[in-house]
Symmetry: none
Subunit: 210 residues, 4 copies
DNA sequence: CATGAATGAGGATTCATTCAT
DNA sequence: TATGAATGAATCCTCATTCAT
C-alpha cells in the first residue's frame, strides 16, 4: 500500500499539491514582476499570469502579499545559491572564487533574467508602514555575507591586499546588480563578456599595490 | 499688445508663480518618497506634506503622475550635478576626477539623503504599462555619461589602463548606489570613510597591471 | 429489506454519527460566537474551533449558514429549558415560579455564559434578505410563552394584580437579557445577588397596589 | 461682506457641505441598518440608499466603518436625548420623571423606529477583534447613567423605596429595549399604551412595600 | 488661479459554497 | 463518509483624475 501522493511530499506541514500550487503562484509572481515591475504587480495580474480564475486562490495559499513575496525572494535566492554555490566550491583559491562569484552571478542573470530583476524590484519596493525594509531584505542582505566571507578568508590567506571586506562586498554586489539593470535597458550587451570584464576590475582592485 | 507681467518670467511657458508651486510640490514629493517609499507615495500624502488642502492642485500643475516624478528626478539630478560638477572641474587629472566623483557622490548622499533615496525609489518604480522605463530613467542613465566621459578621456590621456569605460562606469555607479542602500539599512556607517575606501578600490582597479 | 444499523438510530432522518458530528459543530459554533461575536464568526473559525480540517465538513452536514445557526439557537434554548424547567415545576405558587424563573435564568447565564451570549448575538444577527427574523428567532420568542403562561395562570389564580401578562413578560425578559449584557461588559457583578434583586423588583411590580 | 456659506457652518473643522454629506450618509446608514440589519449593512448598500454612485464617497467622508457607525450611534443618542431630555425636565418629582422617561423613550421609538433599531443592532454588532465592544457602546451605556442618576436622586429624596439604582436601571432599560424588539416583530401593538403599562410596572416596583 | 467634491476603477482579502475524489 | 481545493462574489478601502465653481 502506497502512502498517498499528497502526504508523501509534505514540506513544512504542506501537502504536495499545496506546494505545487504555491510554486506555480510564485513562478507567476516572478514573471509578473519581471514583466510589469513590482509597483504594477497586483494579485489579479499574478492570477492571470498563473491562469487562475480569481485572486481569491492566491489569498487561499498565501496569508498575504508579504508572505507571497517573501517566498518569491526566498525562491530566487535559493535558485541563485544553487547556481552559484557549486561553481564557487569548485575553485581552490579565494581569488578564483571571487572571479567565479562575479561571473556566475552574471551568468545566472543571463539564464534567469526574470528572477534577478524581480528580486531587485521586490527588495526595493517592500517596506512596512515605517518605510523599513521587511523580512525579504534581510534574506537578500544575508546573501551578501557569502561574499564577505569569501573576501574575509582570502584576506586572511594573504590572497587579497588592503581591503575592507564589507566595503568591497557592497561595491561588488552593487556593480553586479547595476550591470543587470543596464542589461535590462540595453539587452544587446554580452553578459558573459561583461562578467569577465567585471571580474577583471575587482581582481585588479584586490591586488596588492606595487 | 503688451506682454503681461506674468508671462515675463516664463520658464518653458510657465509663470513665476506656477514654477514656485511646482517646485513646492516637487520638494514635497521628494520628502514623501524618502519618508514613505515610492510605493506608498500617493498624491494625497504629497499634498499633505506640501500643506495643500487637496490633491486637485497637484493634478492642476502636473499633467499626471509621470510628469511629476519626471520633474522630481530631473530636480534631484540637477542638484547632484550642481554638487558634484564643480568639485570635478577643480581637479586636474582624470584619475583625481574619478576619485572626487566617487567621494563627492557619497558626500552628496550624506548631505541630501532624501534626494538620493527618492531617486533610487522612483527610477525603479516608474514604468509605463509595458514596463518600459519612462523619461525619468533616461535622464538618470544620462547621468552615467558624465562618468563614462571622464573614463574615456582619462584612458585617452593614458591615465587609466585596461578598462572598458562603460563597464567600469556601470560598476562604479552600482557600487556607489549600493553603498547608499546599505547606508540606509545601517545608518551608522561613516559615509566619508566609505567614500575614501570606495575611491581606493576603483583607483586600484584602473591602474596598469604590473 | 433490512433496516440498516445506521438508520436504526435516526433522528429526523439522520444517523447517530451524523448527529454526533452536527452536535460537535454546533458546540464549536456556540463557543466561536461567544468568543468572537456573531459578525466575526465564519465557517473557517468554527471548523478550527471544532478541530476540523476544512469548512467543507460544515457545509456537508448543514444545508447552509441558516440551518446551522437555527440548530445552535434550538440547542441553547433546549439547554435553558432543561435548566429552568425543573426548577419552575418544583415551586407551588406562580409568584414563587416567577421568582425562580428570573433567578434561574440568571443562574443559567452564570453557568453557561457562552450559550446565552451566543443566543443573543445570533437572534439579533440572523435575518433573511428582507430583514425578517428567521426560524431561529421564532423559537426564541416562543420561549417567552413559558413566562406569559406563568403570568396568565398566576393572574387567574389571583396571585398577581393589575398586569398585562405579555407586557410584563416582555419587560422581565428584557430586564434579564440586559442584565446579562451588563454582566458581559462588567464581569465583576455577582449574578446571584443581581438575580435576587431583579426578582424582588418584579415581585413588587406584580403586587396589588395598596 | 458675508462669511462664505461653507466656512460659516463649520463643526470640528468641517465645512457646511462636508457636514451635510456626512449627515446624509449617516441618515442612509441608519435606514439601511434598520431595513437590512447591521450584519447585512455594507458600504455599497448605504451608498445605494443615499443615492451615491460609489462606496468610495463614504470612505472619502469617513475614515472607516468604525467612524461612520460611531457617528451613527452619536446621532441617534443625540436625537433621543433631545426628545427625552426636555420632557424629563418638565416634571417635578423623580417618580414623575421615571414615568416620563419610560413613556417618552417608547414614544421616541414610535416616532423614530429606525433610529432605535439601528442603535440596538450596532451596539450589539460592533466589537473589536477581541470581541470587546468599542467606543460606540461606551456612549450607549453612558445613556444609562441618566436613568441611574434619576433613581439615585429619587431615592435620596425618599420618593423610591428599597432599590439598587443600577440594577433597577438595567432592568428598566432592558424592558424598554425589549419592548421595541417585540414591537418590531409584531408592529401592530400600541406603543403608547405599552409605554403607560411599562411605566406602571416600574412605578409599582419602586413603591415602598406595605 | 485655486478648490475640493465626486468619481469609478482597482487594491487585497474573506466568505460560504461546490465538487471531484 | 469525508476531504480540501477551487470558486467568485462581496467586503472595505485607496487611488489618480476630473470638473463645476
Amino acid at each position: 500500500m502506497l502512502v498517498s501522493a499528497k502526504r508523501a511530499g509534505e514540506q513544512g506541514g504542506r501537502t504536495f499539491t499545496e506546494e505545487a500550487r504555491r510554486a506555480q503562484i510564485v513562478r507567476a509572481a516572478i514573471d509578473t514582476v519581471a514583466e510589469h515591475g513590482y509597483p504594477h504587480t497586483s494579485f489579479s495580474k499574478i492570477a492571470q499570469q498563473a491562469g487562475l480564475s480569481s485572486t481569491g486562490m492566491i489569498s487561499y495559499y498565501f496569508a498575504g502579499k508579504a508572505e507571497l513575496f517573501d517566498e518569491v525572494v526566498a525562491t530566487v535566492l535559493r535558485a541563485a545559491e544553487e547556481f552559484v554555490g557549486p561553481r564557487l566550491q569548485r575553485e581552490q583559491t579565494y581569488r578564483a572564487k571571487l572571479r567565479v562569484y562575479i561571473e556566475s552571478n552574471l551568468a545566472f542573470m543571463a539564464e534567469y533574467p526574470g528572477h534577478t530583476l524581480a528580486l531587485a524590484e521586490i527588495v526595493l519596493g517592500t517596506r512596512d508602514r515605517d518605510n523599513v525594509p521587511v523580512g525579504a531584505v534581510n534574506q537578500a542582505t544575508a546573501s551578501l555575507d557569502v561574499l564577505v566571507d569569501c573576501l574575509d578568508k582570502g584576506l586572511a590567506a594573504g590572497e587579497f591586499a588592503d581591503l575592507e571586506p564589507r566595503v568591497m562586498a557592497v561595491a561588488i554586489r552593487g556593480a553586479i546588480d547595476n550591470t543587470l539593470r543596464h542589461h535590462m535597458l540595453t539587452p544587446d550587451v554580452d553578459l558573459e563578456a561583461y562578467g569577465r570584464q567585471l571580474a577583471d576590475i575587482f581582481d585588479r582592485a584586490t591586488r596588492a599595490t606595487a
